[in-house]
Amino acid sequence: MIYLDSAATSLLKPSEVHSAVLDAMKTMASPGRGSHAPAEKAAETAFECRCLLADLFHVPEPEQVVFTMNATHGLNIAILSMIKPGDRVVVSGYEHNAVMRPLQLAGAQVDVAASPLFDAEAAVEAFAKRIPGAAAVVCNHVSNVFGFILPIDAIAALCREHGVPLIIDASQSAGVIGIDFTSLGARFMAMPGHKGLMGPQGTGVLICSGQVRPLMAGGTGSNSRSADMPDFLPDRLEAGTHNITGIAGLMAGAKYIKRLGTVRIEEYERKLMGLMRDALSKIPGLTVYAAQNPEMQTGVLSVKHEKHGCEAVAEALGARGVAVRAGMHCAPSAHESAGTLAEGTVRFSFSPFNTQAEVSTAAAITNRILKTL
Protein backbone atom coordinates (compact mmCIF):
# COMPACT_ATOMS: atom_id res chain seq x y z
CA MET A 1 0.00 0.00 0.00
CA ILE A 2 1.09 3.56 -0.69
CA TYR A 3 -0.15 5.57 2.27
CA LEU A 4 -0.81 9.19 1.32
CA ASP A 5 -3.21 10.15 4.10
CA SER A 6 -0.85 11.44 6.77
CA ALA A 7 -2.83 14.67 7.14
CA ALA A 8 -5.50 12.48 8.77
CA THR A 9 -3.26 10.07 10.69
CA SER A 10 0.43 9.34 10.28
CA LEU A 11 0.09 5.60 9.88
CA LEU A 12 3.78 5.29 8.98
CA LYS A 13 5.62 5.87 12.24
CA PRO A 14 9.14 5.39 13.55
CA SER A 15 9.60 1.91 15.04
CA GLU A 16 10.53 3.55 18.35
CA VAL A 17 6.90 4.63 18.68
CA HIS A 18 5.67 1.03 18.48
CA SER A 19 8.26 -0.11 21.05
CA ALA A 20 7.50 2.75 23.42
CA VAL A 21 3.76 2.00 23.42
CA LEU A 22 4.34 -1.67 24.09
CA ASP A 23 6.91 -0.99 26.81
CA ALA A 24 4.55 1.47 28.52
CA MET A 25 1.74 -1.04 28.45
CA LYS A 26 3.93 -3.61 30.10
CA THR A 27 5.69 -1.43 32.67
CA MET A 28 3.76 1.74 33.45
CA ALA A 29 0.76 2.45 35.67
CA SER A 30 -0.59 5.98 36.08
CA PRO A 31 1.39 9.17 36.77
CA GLY A 32 0.88 10.62 40.24
CA ARG A 33 -1.25 7.73 41.42
CA GLY A 34 1.21 5.83 43.58
CA SER A 35 4.69 5.53 45.04
CA HIS A 36 5.43 2.22 43.36
CA ALA A 37 7.82 1.76 40.46
CA PRO A 38 5.19 1.47 37.67
CA ALA A 39 3.52 4.71 38.83
CA GLU A 40 6.87 6.45 39.12
CA LYS A 41 7.95 5.31 35.68
CA ALA A 42 4.68 6.65 34.28
CA ALA A 43 5.24 9.97 36.09
CA GLU A 44 8.76 10.24 34.70
CA THR A 45 7.52 9.52 31.18
CA ALA A 46 4.75 12.11 31.37
CA PHE A 47 7.16 14.71 32.71
CA GLU A 48 9.84 13.94 30.14
CA CYS A 49 7.26 14.18 27.37
CA ARG A 50 6.04 17.56 28.68
CA CYS A 51 9.62 18.85 28.81
CA LEU A 52 10.36 17.61 25.30
CA LEU A 53 7.23 19.23 23.84
CA ALA A 54 7.89 22.45 25.77
CA ASP A 55 11.34 22.52 24.19
CA LEU A 56 10.02 21.70 20.70
CA PHE A 57 7.44 24.51 20.77
CA HIS A 58 9.42 27.04 22.85
CA VAL A 59 7.11 26.93 25.84
CA PRO A 60 8.68 28.33 29.04
CA GLU A 61 7.37 25.76 31.54
CA PRO A 62 6.41 22.09 31.20
CA GLU A 63 3.26 22.69 33.27
CA GLN A 64 1.87 24.59 30.29
CA VAL A 65 1.88 21.39 28.24
CA VAL A 66 -1.44 19.65 28.86
CA PHE A 67 -2.20 16.18 27.52
CA THR A 68 -5.50 15.82 25.69
CA MET A 69 -7.22 13.10 23.68
CA ASN A 70 -6.65 14.92 20.37
CA ALA A 71 -6.59 18.44 18.94
CA THR A 72 -10.39 18.63 19.00
CA HIS A 73 -10.37 18.03 22.75
CA GLY A 74 -7.79 20.80 23.23
CA LEU A 75 -9.71 23.22 21.03
CA ASN A 76 -12.91 22.50 22.98
CA ILE A 77 -11.14 23.28 26.25
CA ALA A 78 -9.70 26.50 24.85
CA ILE A 79 -12.86 27.73 23.11
CA LEU A 80 -15.39 26.75 25.78
CA SER A 81 -13.14 28.20 28.47
CA MET A 82 -12.89 31.60 26.84
CA ILE A 83 -15.94 32.24 24.70
CA LYS A 84 -19.30 33.40 26.03
CA PRO A 85 -22.56 33.42 24.07
CA GLY A 86 -22.63 36.38 21.71
CA ASP A 87 -18.86 36.93 21.71
CA ARG A 88 -17.50 37.92 18.33
CA VAL A 89 -14.78 35.50 17.35
CA VAL A 90 -12.68 35.95 14.22
CA VAL A 91 -11.65 32.85 12.29
CA SER A 92 -9.91 32.24 8.98
CA GLY A 93 -11.76 30.93 5.97
CA TYR A 94 -9.99 27.59 6.34
CA GLU A 95 -11.15 26.24 9.69
CA HIS A 96 -11.89 22.62 10.56
CA ASN A 97 -15.10 21.61 12.32
CA ALA A 98 -12.91 21.08 15.40
CA VAL A 99 -12.99 24.88 15.59
CA MET A 100 -16.35 25.73 14.01
CA ARG A 101 -18.49 23.33 16.03
CA PRO A 102 -17.13 24.29 19.48
CA LEU A 103 -17.67 27.94 18.50
CA GLN A 104 -21.26 27.09 17.57
CA LEU A 105 -21.64 25.23 20.87
CA ALA A 106 -20.30 28.22 22.76
CA GLY A 107 -22.85 30.50 21.06
CA ALA A 108 -20.16 32.64 19.46
CA GLN A 109 -20.83 35.14 16.74
CA VAL A 110 -18.39 33.81 14.15
CA ASP A 111 -16.78 36.46 11.97
CA VAL A 112 -14.97 34.84 9.04
CA ALA A 113 -11.87 36.61 7.76
CA ALA A 114 -12.42 35.17 4.30
CA SER A 115 -9.61 35.26 1.76
CA PRO A 116 -8.71 33.52 -1.49
CA LEU A 117 -6.75 30.28 -1.36
CA PHE A 118 -2.97 30.70 -1.04
CA ASP A 119 -3.25 34.48 -0.71
CA ALA A 120 -1.49 35.29 2.57
CA GLU A 121 -1.61 39.03 2.02
CA ALA A 122 -5.38 38.98 1.59
CA ALA A 123 -5.69 36.81 4.72
CA VAL A 124 -3.76 39.35 6.79
CA GLU A 125 -5.89 42.20 5.41
CA ALA A 126 -9.08 40.32 6.24
CA PHE A 127 -7.91 39.67 9.81
CA ALA A 128 -6.67 43.26 10.25
CA LYS A 129 -10.19 44.55 9.49
CA ARG A 130 -11.89 42.23 11.96
CA ILE A 131 -9.54 41.82 14.91
CA PRO A 132 -10.12 45.16 16.67
CA GLY A 133 -12.82 44.67 19.30
CA ALA A 134 -13.07 40.90 18.85
CA ALA A 135 -13.33 38.62 21.88
CA ALA A 136 -10.85 36.17 20.39
CA VAL A 137 -9.24 34.89 17.21
CA VAL A 138 -9.14 31.19 16.41
CA CYS A 139 -6.92 30.33 13.49
CA ASN A 140 -5.72 27.31 11.65
CA HIS A 141 -1.96 27.36 11.07
CA VAL A 142 -2.21 25.12 8.01
CA SER A 143 -5.35 24.15 6.10
CA ASN A 144 -5.98 20.42 6.39
CA VAL A 145 -7.57 20.41 2.93
CA PHE A 146 -5.14 22.46 0.87
CA GLY A 147 -1.93 22.66 2.90
CA PHE A 148 -2.21 26.46 2.75
CA ILE A 149 0.10 27.93 5.39
CA LEU A 150 -1.80 30.78 7.00
CA PRO A 151 0.32 33.86 7.86
CA ILE A 152 0.16 33.05 11.57
CA ASP A 153 3.06 35.35 12.54
CA ALA A 154 1.28 38.38 11.09
CA ILE A 155 -2.10 37.34 12.53
CA ALA A 156 -0.51 36.81 15.96
CA ALA A 157 1.14 40.24 15.73
CA LEU A 158 -2.25 41.83 15.01
CA CYS A 159 -3.75 40.01 18.00
CA ARG A 160 -0.95 41.24 20.27
CA GLU A 161 -1.33 44.79 18.96
CA HIS A 162 -5.05 44.84 19.73
CA GLY A 163 -4.91 42.75 22.92
CA VAL A 164 -7.10 40.01 21.43
CA PRO A 165 -6.40 36.46 22.64
CA LEU A 166 -5.35 33.99 19.95
CA ILE A 167 -6.09 30.28 19.82
CA ILE A 168 -4.02 28.39 17.24
CA ASP A 169 -5.09 25.12 15.68
CA ALA A 170 -1.71 23.55 14.92
CA SER A 171 -3.18 20.23 13.78
CA GLN A 172 -1.39 20.22 10.43
CA SER A 173 1.73 22.12 11.42
CA ALA A 174 2.91 20.55 14.70
CA GLY A 175 5.86 18.35 13.87
CA VAL A 176 6.02 19.69 10.31
CA ILE A 177 6.77 23.41 10.68
CA GLY A 178 8.83 25.03 13.44
CA ILE A 179 6.54 26.90 15.87
CA ASP A 180 7.61 29.30 18.60
CA PHE A 181 4.62 29.53 20.96
CA THR A 182 6.21 32.20 23.14
CA SER A 183 7.06 34.52 20.24
CA LEU A 184 3.56 34.19 18.83
CA GLY A 185 2.12 35.20 22.19
CA ALA A 186 -0.90 32.94 21.71
CA ARG A 187 -3.27 32.11 24.55
CA PHE A 188 -3.65 28.47 23.51
CA MET A 189 -2.29 26.17 20.85
CA ALA A 190 -3.90 22.79 20.24
CA MET A 191 -2.43 19.88 18.31
CA PRO A 192 -2.98 16.17 17.79
CA GLY A 193 -0.33 13.64 18.70
CA HIS A 194 -1.20 11.25 15.87
CA LYS A 195 -0.38 13.38 12.84
CA GLY A 196 2.93 15.23 12.39
CA LEU A 197 4.18 14.38 15.86
CA MET A 198 4.04 10.66 14.96
CA GLY A 199 2.36 9.58 18.16
CA PRO A 200 -0.50 7.09 18.55
CA GLN A 201 -4.16 7.90 17.94
CA GLY A 202 -5.89 9.22 21.07
CA THR A 203 -3.12 11.62 21.99
CA GLY A 204 -3.05 15.38 21.79
CA VAL A 205 -1.60 18.44 23.42
CA LEU A 206 -2.97 21.79 24.48
CA ILE A 207 -0.36 24.43 25.22
CA CYS A 208 -1.71 27.05 27.58
CA SER A 209 -0.69 30.42 28.86
CA GLY A 210 -2.67 31.83 31.76
CA GLN A 211 -5.81 30.69 33.47
CA VAL A 212 -8.26 28.27 31.96
CA ARG A 213 -11.59 26.72 32.92
CA PRO A 214 -11.66 22.91 32.94
CA LEU A 215 -13.86 21.09 30.47
CA MET A 216 -13.94 17.96 32.62
CA ALA A 217 -13.62 17.40 36.34
CA GLY A 218 -12.38 14.38 38.23
CA GLY A 219 -9.45 12.82 39.99
CA THR A 220 -6.02 14.32 39.45
CA GLY A 221 -3.98 12.72 42.22
CA SER A 222 -3.59 16.16 43.79
CA ASN A 223 -5.59 18.28 46.31
CA SER A 224 -7.97 15.36 46.63
CA ARG A 225 -9.92 16.71 49.61
CA SER A 226 -11.10 19.65 47.56
CA ALA A 227 -14.32 19.34 45.55
CA ASP A 228 -12.87 21.77 43.00
CA MET A 229 -10.35 21.02 40.32
CA PRO A 230 -6.83 22.20 41.24
CA ASP A 231 -6.08 25.77 40.20
CA PHE A 232 -2.71 24.85 38.69
CA LEU A 233 -1.70 23.35 35.39
CA PRO A 234 -1.49 20.69 34.12
CA ASP A 235 -3.67 19.08 36.82
CA ARG A 236 -6.47 21.59 36.24
CA LEU A 237 -7.13 20.16 32.78
CA GLU A 238 -6.10 16.53 33.21
CA ALA A 239 -8.92 14.78 35.06
CA GLY A 240 -8.83 10.99 35.13
CA THR A 241 -6.21 8.41 34.29
CA HIS A 242 -3.73 9.48 31.65
CA ASN A 243 -3.29 7.68 28.35
CA ILE A 244 0.25 6.84 29.37
CA THR A 245 0.81 4.29 26.61
CA GLY A 246 -0.14 7.00 24.15
CA ILE A 247 2.02 9.59 25.90
CA ALA A 248 5.01 7.23 25.79
CA GLY A 249 4.46 6.74 22.06
CA LEU A 250 3.99 10.47 21.55
CA MET A 251 7.29 11.11 23.29
CA ALA A 252 9.06 8.64 21.00
CA GLY A 253 7.47 10.34 18.00
CA ALA A 254 8.42 13.82 19.20
CA LYS A 255 12.01 12.67 19.79
CA TYR A 256 12.11 11.47 16.19
CA ILE A 257 10.80 14.85 14.99
CA LYS A 258 13.36 16.68 17.07
CA ARG A 259 16.17 14.50 15.75
CA LEU A 260 15.12 14.96 12.12
CA GLY A 261 14.23 18.65 12.50
CA THR A 262 11.11 20.36 11.20
CA VAL A 263 13.12 22.23 8.55
CA ARG A 264 14.07 18.96 6.84
CA ILE A 265 10.61 17.48 7.30
CA GLU A 266 8.87 20.52 5.82
CA GLU A 267 11.26 20.61 2.86
CA TYR A 268 10.96 16.90 2.16
CA GLU A 269 7.17 16.79 2.35
CA ARG A 270 6.97 19.86 0.13
CA LYS A 271 9.26 18.18 -2.37
CA LEU A 272 6.97 15.13 -2.50
CA MET A 273 3.95 17.39 -2.85
CA GLY A 274 5.71 19.20 -5.73
CA LEU A 275 6.37 15.92 -7.52
CA MET A 276 2.74 14.92 -7.22
CA ARG A 277 1.55 18.40 -8.24
CA ASP A 278 3.70 18.34 -11.38
CA ALA A 279 2.58 14.82 -12.34
CA LEU A 280 -1.12 15.41 -11.70
CA SER A 281 -1.13 18.80 -13.44
CA LYS A 282 -0.64 16.96 -16.76
CA ILE A 283 -3.88 14.98 -16.39
CA PRO A 284 -6.70 16.45 -18.50
CA GLY A 285 -9.79 17.51 -16.57
CA LEU A 286 -8.05 17.50 -13.21
CA THR A 287 -7.84 20.72 -11.20
CA VAL A 288 -4.82 20.71 -8.90
CA TYR A 289 -4.91 23.15 -5.98
CA ALA A 290 -1.31 24.28 -5.70
CA ALA A 291 0.20 27.54 -4.53
CA GLN A 292 2.13 29.61 -7.06
CA ASN A 293 4.70 30.10 -4.35
CA PRO A 294 5.42 26.58 -3.03
CA GLU A 295 6.61 28.05 0.28
CA MET A 296 2.95 28.72 1.10
CA GLN A 297 1.99 25.04 0.98
CA THR A 298 2.95 22.03 3.07
CA GLY A 299 2.90 18.40 1.95
CA VAL A 300 -0.86 18.40 1.37
CA LEU A 301 -2.39 18.52 -2.11
CA SER A 302 -6.05 18.56 -3.10
CA VAL A 303 -7.39 17.79 -6.56
CA LYS A 304 -10.80 17.69 -8.24
CA HIS A 305 -11.84 16.04 -11.50
CA GLU A 306 -14.37 17.69 -13.78
CA LYS A 307 -16.22 14.42 -14.40
CA HIS A 308 -15.49 11.91 -11.66
CA GLY A 309 -16.64 12.46 -8.08
CA CYS A 310 -13.99 12.61 -5.38
CA GLU A 311 -15.31 9.61 -3.42
CA ALA A 312 -15.31 7.44 -6.56
CA VAL A 313 -11.73 8.45 -7.33
CA ALA A 314 -10.57 7.80 -3.75
CA GLU A 315 -12.34 4.43 -3.70
CA ALA A 316 -10.70 3.43 -6.97
CA LEU A 317 -7.31 4.54 -5.67
CA GLY A 318 -7.87 2.58 -2.47
CA ALA A 319 -8.75 -0.52 -4.45
CA ARG A 320 -5.40 -0.17 -6.22
CA GLY A 321 -3.44 0.31 -3.02
CA VAL A 322 -3.23 4.08 -2.78
CA ALA A 323 -4.68 5.44 0.47
CA VAL A 324 -6.03 8.99 0.21
CA ARG A 325 -8.89 10.98 1.71
CA ALA A 326 -11.86 12.40 -0.16
CA GLY A 327 -14.83 14.63 0.57
CA MET A 328 -15.13 17.60 2.90
CA HIS A 329 -12.27 16.62 5.21
CA CYS A 330 -14.43 17.97 8.08
CA ALA A 331 -13.66 21.47 6.82
CA PRO A 332 -16.58 22.83 4.79
CA SER A 333 -15.37 26.34 5.52
CA ALA A 334 -12.12 25.68 3.63
CA HIS A 335 -14.02 24.22 0.69
CA GLU A 336 -16.30 27.24 0.64
CA SER A 337 -13.27 29.52 0.46
CA ALA A 338 -11.75 27.53 -2.39
CA GLY A 339 -15.01 27.01 -4.29
CA THR A 340 -15.06 23.23 -3.82
CA LEU A 341 -17.92 22.99 -1.34
CA ALA A 342 -20.30 21.23 -3.73
CA GLU A 343 -18.00 18.40 -4.80
CA GLY A 344 -15.19 18.22 -2.24
CA THR A 345 -11.70 17.16 -3.23
CA VAL A 346 -9.35 14.19 -3.23
CA ARG A 347 -6.47 14.89 -0.86
CA PHE A 348 -2.97 13.48 -1.09
CA SER A 349 -0.83 14.09 1.99
CA PHE A 350 2.75 13.07 2.60
CA SER A 351 5.03 12.06 5.42
CA PRO A 352 8.78 11.70 5.93
CA PHE A 353 8.33 7.97 5.34
CA ASN A 354 6.97 8.32 1.80
CA THR A 355 9.38 8.00 -1.10
CA GLN A 356 9.61 9.73 -4.45
CA ALA A 357 9.03 6.37 -6.13
CA GLU A 358 5.77 5.97 -4.22
CA VAL A 359 4.64 9.40 -5.35
CA SER A 360 5.42 8.60 -9.00
CA THR A 361 3.57 5.29 -8.78
CA ALA A 362 0.55 6.89 -7.10
CA ALA A 363 0.45 9.60 -9.76
CA ALA A 364 0.59 7.00 -12.54
CA ILE A 365 -2.20 4.99 -10.92
CA THR A 366 -4.31 8.14 -10.59
CA ASN A 367 -3.79 8.88 -14.28
CA ARG A 368 -4.85 5.36 -15.26
CA ILE A 369 -7.90 5.42 -13.01
CA LEU A 370 -9.15 8.71 -14.38
CA LYS A 371 -8.94 7.32 -17.92
CA THR A 372 -10.88 4.17 -17.10
CA LEU A 373 -13.45 5.19 -14.49
Binding site: S35, A43, A46, F47, E63, S222, N223, R225, S226, D235
Partner: protein
Amino acid sequence: MHQYLIMCRSLTYAQRAAVALERAGITVATARAPQELTDGGCGYCIKVSERRFHEALKVLEKFNLPCGRIYRKGPGEAYTEVLR
Protein backbone atom coordinates in the same frame (compact mmCIF):
# COMPACT_ATOMS: atom_id res chain seq x y z
CA MET B 1 20.86 12.71 59.97
CA HIS B 2 17.62 14.61 59.24
CA GLN B 3 15.77 14.53 56.00
CA TYR B 4 13.93 17.57 54.67
CA LEU B 5 10.66 17.45 52.76
CA ILE B 6 9.87 20.38 50.51
CA MET B 7 6.20 20.36 49.65
CA CYS B 8 5.20 21.05 46.02
CA ARG B 9 1.84 22.05 44.60
CA SER B 10 1.82 19.36 41.90
CA LEU B 11 3.68 16.33 40.65
CA THR B 12 4.91 18.22 37.58
CA TYR B 13 6.15 21.05 39.76
CA ALA B 14 7.97 18.61 42.04
CA GLN B 15 9.54 17.02 38.98
CA ARG B 16 10.72 20.41 37.71
CA ALA B 17 12.24 21.22 41.08
CA ALA B 18 13.94 17.83 41.18
CA VAL B 19 15.43 18.35 37.72
CA ALA B 20 16.81 21.78 38.73
CA LEU B 21 18.34 20.30 41.89
CA GLU B 22 19.79 17.25 40.12
CA ARG B 23 21.38 19.55 37.53
CA ALA B 24 22.98 21.44 40.41
CA GLY B 25 24.41 18.16 41.67
CA ILE B 26 21.98 17.75 44.56
CA THR B 27 20.47 14.29 44.82
CA VAL B 28 16.77 14.38 45.66
CA ALA B 29 13.78 12.07 45.49
CA THR B 30 10.33 13.04 44.25
CA ALA B 31 7.57 11.38 46.26
CA ARG B 32 3.95 11.55 47.23
CA ALA B 33 3.74 13.60 50.39
CA PRO B 34 2.88 11.90 53.69
CA GLN B 35 -0.87 12.06 54.28
CA GLU B 36 -0.58 14.03 57.53
CA LEU B 37 1.28 16.85 55.76
CA THR B 38 -1.17 17.50 52.96
CA ASP B 39 -3.91 20.00 53.74
CA GLY B 40 -5.77 19.30 50.53
CA GLY B 41 -5.11 15.55 50.44
CA CYS B 42 -2.74 13.99 47.89
CA GLY B 43 0.31 16.14 47.39
CA TYR B 44 3.89 15.82 46.29
CA CYS B 45 7.24 16.65 47.78
CA ILE B 46 10.93 16.43 47.15
CA LYS B 47 13.16 14.85 49.73
CA VAL B 48 16.62 16.27 50.32
CA SER B 49 19.30 15.47 52.84
CA GLU B 50 20.18 17.81 55.70
CA ARG B 51 23.66 18.30 54.25
CA ARG B 52 22.37 19.77 50.96
CA PHE B 53 19.16 21.38 52.23
CA HIS B 54 20.26 25.03 52.37
CA GLU B 55 22.00 24.74 49.03
CA ALA B 56 18.82 23.22 47.59
CA LEU B 57 16.75 26.20 48.75
CA LYS B 58 19.18 28.57 47.03
CA VAL B 59 18.95 26.61 43.78
CA LEU B 60 15.14 26.65 43.87
CA GLU B 61 15.13 30.37 44.52
CA LYS B 62 17.59 30.97 41.69
CA PHE B 63 15.33 29.14 39.25
CA ASN B 64 12.21 30.87 40.57
CA LEU B 65 10.70 27.66 41.89
CA PRO B 66 8.96 28.69 45.10
CA CYS B 67 8.73 26.06 47.85
CA GLY B 68 5.64 25.09 49.77
CA ARG B 69 5.88 24.20 53.42
CA ILE B 70 9.07 22.48 54.55
CA TYR B 71 9.27 19.68 57.10
CA ARG B 72 12.14 17.80 58.64
CA LYS B 73 12.30 14.38 60.15
CA GLY B 74 14.95 12.34 61.87
CA PRO B 75 14.92 8.58 62.47
CA GLY B 76 12.00 7.75 64.74
CA GLU B 77 10.82 11.37 64.89
CA ALA B 78 7.59 12.96 63.76
CA TYR B 79 7.62 15.61 61.02
CA THR B 80 8.35 19.11 62.24
CA GLU B 81 7.62 22.15 60.15
CA VAL B 82 10.65 24.27 59.40
CA LEU B 83 9.91 27.97 59.47
CA ARG B 84 11.75 30.20 57.06
